[in-house]
Symmetry: C2
Subunit: 431 residues, 2 copies
């Protein structure tokens, strides 16, 4: 196995610069994608099942490659959290293979008719879903992304160009090799899933500039990666930078529901993008102290505005920055607001457009909030931690997007398609 990996490391680099490398790989991907686009639902699903089987067949190779990455990571002094994201074991690898099968089971969006119409002259119009094309995935240390992202792309007829993090280089290569073997058995052309064979950062730059060759970039990783991608990309990017998410406890909120939702939204997992960062409490909500006490008693640091600080002596003062901070840990900012309008204003000023929620018994308040908050996901009486493609019933997600075009919120297979217009006539010419 080592021999193969070393060969892959050396092989394609030669004197080629990053732009030429990406150009070559992307053209290969485009050609492969044309074949993929013409494969049927069942053919693509079978190929993905073969890829899952190949992941299981090569478990030994993949885990050995992962052990090399882990050893190198320990030597480089990676944090425990980073090593954990990097680490594979038999259970995690089985999870990756099962996820590939899960995607194979999802309905194929390609060929779905979005709508049809007919004009008085007899022309018949249909908008039909087609793959986006070539999708670049730029990610960090989690090797499962190699399989997850490639699988979602292929399911919807797209070619994937994968650029993983250097910490996971051996794991990614081993996973990619197994995937490629399985997909090839299923008739998917070789170029449909390609791992960029260099860790040179210039290759990322070349991907970001490959407009016309790469159709969409999905960055998966921390804020600095996403920020770089959004800043440099000339290719459209599907991503979110921040999840500065608000939960607004309305005056009409049920006390138990409010406390359960706030606790869950903040603390179920503090490191996920759907976690609540700011709690807004209506001045007329009768037990603001109760909900703040719940957070504090659960060892959540609370940083409050002046009114919030009066609720509990453990509340620390919030400064201006707190309202624009994604903590991703057990810290919440809390503001007491004067009713719906003030809550909407605060959210409009500070939300990152990811997921904002209201807790309210008043149905009008719920609808006002859902209609007026302009985030990708707006929720009523539920925890913002549900912000996830699986929880939305999409089966999986390639990411969550806070941009305003193409696809918003959790993006799964449909977001990896676009459409074309099919027009059927019987000899019509335009007068």
């Amino acid at each position: 196995m080592d021999t193969v990996i070393e060969k892959q490391t050396e092989a394609p680099l030669s004197a080629e610069d990053s732009a030429a490398l990406i150009d070559r790989l992307a053209r290969k991907a485009r050609n492969a994608q044309k074949v993929l686009a013409s494969m049927s639902d069942a053919e693509k699903a079978d190929a993905l099942r073969a890829a899952a089987a190949a992941l299981r067949d090569h478990a030994g190779d993949i885990l050995a490659a992962n052990a090399r990455d882990i050893a190198a990571g320990e030597e480089r002094g990676l944090s425990g959290a980073m090593l954990d994201r990097l680490r594979l074991d038999e259970d995690r690898l089985e999870g990756i293979a099962a996820a590939v099968e899960n995607v194979a089971d999802l309905p194929d969006p390609v060929g779905q008719v979005i709508d049809r119409s007919e004009r008085p002259n007899g022309l018949q119009f249909a908008r039909v879903r087609v793959p986006v094309g070539v999708i670049g995935i730029i990610y960090e240390s989690r090797p499962n992304v190699t399989a997850d992202a490639a699988t979602l792309c292929v399911r919807a007829g797209n070619a994937a160009l994968l650029r993983g993090g250097s910490e996971a280089v051996h794991s990614n290569r081993a996973i990619n090799k197994a995937l490629a073997e399985g997909l090839a058995k299923g008739g998917v052309p070789e170029g449909a899933v390609q791992l960029i064979p260099t860790q040179d950062r210039a290759a990322v730059g070349a991907m970001l500039k490959a407009a016309g060759l790469i159709d969409m970039i999905v960055p998966r990783g921390g804020k600095s990666l996403v920020a770089r991608v959004q800043e440099e990309a000339r290719v459209p990017v599907l991503a979110h930078l921040d999840g500065i998410n608000h939960t607004f406890v309305h005056a009409s909120a049920d006390k138990t529901m409010a406390e359960d939702i706030v606790l869950n939204a903040k603390l179920r997992r503090t490191g996920v993008c759907g976690a609540m960062e700011t709690l807004l409490i209506d001045r007329n909500y009768p037990d603001a102290a109760g909900v703040v006490k719940k957070l504090l008693d659960a060892d959540c640091e609370v940083r409050g505005d002046e009114a919030a600080r009066k609720l509990d002596e453990r509340v620390k003062p919030a400064d201006d920055e707190d309202w624009d901070t994604e903590y991703l840990e057990a810290i919440a900012s809390v503001a007491i607001v004067d009713g719906m309008d003030a809550a909407l204003d605060h959210i409009a000023a500070h939300s990152s457009g990811h997921t904002d929620a209201i807790v309210a018994s008043d149905a009008d308040a719920v609808e006002t909030f859902l209609n007026n908050v302009d985030s990708a996901i707006v929720m009523a009486n539920a925890s913002s931690q549900f912000a996830d493609g699986g929880e939305f019933g999409l089966g999986a997600e390639i990411g969550i997007a806070t941009g305003r075009l193409h696809a918003r919120g959790p993006v799964a297979l449909e977001g990896l398609t676009t459409y074309k217009w099919q027009v059927r006539g019987s000899g019509q010419t335009r007068p």
Copy 2:
């Protein structure tokens, strides 16, 4: 009237640089857009009807302003075609006002539910259309774009930042002034439609870079404008650069239908983006000479490959560039191809992804073509000159997009919206 126009010319420039100017106008637009987003269908429609009335009320001012532009254009030696694009008269102005009313009559896409679902835990999901936000329109000499584009934006709840060409500066200001007056009567806030008050080209550059402030740019004009916008923009662009459109006459095509469609597709109007530029004829189509003769007899220059040149002595030789050229005049390139696969290959290699068509009686050939050509619009047995939002039943169009994301083909109101997820719960927390 002149006084007002001069005041507008001088007013807001001061020492402000382009970036600061665009920043200020875009922020004003964003605030106005929030109000617009909360206006009802009927309120927006009524405001647009008031704008149409104001255009009619100010017809004298607008035509006088236009006369100034025409005089200046004649002095600068603008071509007859450019002067014609620039010129307004009572009929054309009435057409502009009627078009505004037509848009008011179109169904409002905002608030439409795209789909709904419910999860086993009781969470209810709905995807609801919302406005895109602030849309920048960059256009050239046609003053009607000022009204057309602004109107479509407002109908779908978007603010418009308009940057028209210097040739039409007085016309645009007069139209914008009338529009603003009418919209204000209907309760649309002042910032919802703004004409950039400078002809400095740096203002265009600043618009293109205003990511986060402007949500989408729509260029309306010639190829050099669109190319500049696509090259420089950091804001998503909805556009097409070229309409290198093919019509493929299949072996099974009906002779009369093929000749009618080819003639119409090439010659009805040669300067529109949906015009055919390249004719592909199946080697087994029985009367290739007939269709080429029709074009030649209609004074269309034909540039052919070797086989096409044998059909008629008037056919000139095509060189490599011809297959990638958008003539926009009475010239067609003609290639004889070996059946469907060769036609698909030629189109994949040379199409600009705008509108490609087949003429065929064979239903399988039609479906193969419609499924395998990856252009924004694929047509069977109809003239590619139908590539137009009005002909598609969309009521109007802001442009035709050949990009792969968000919206493709003719883009009307729906393409000026995006969606958000509304999630309704009853206290759900995530396990």
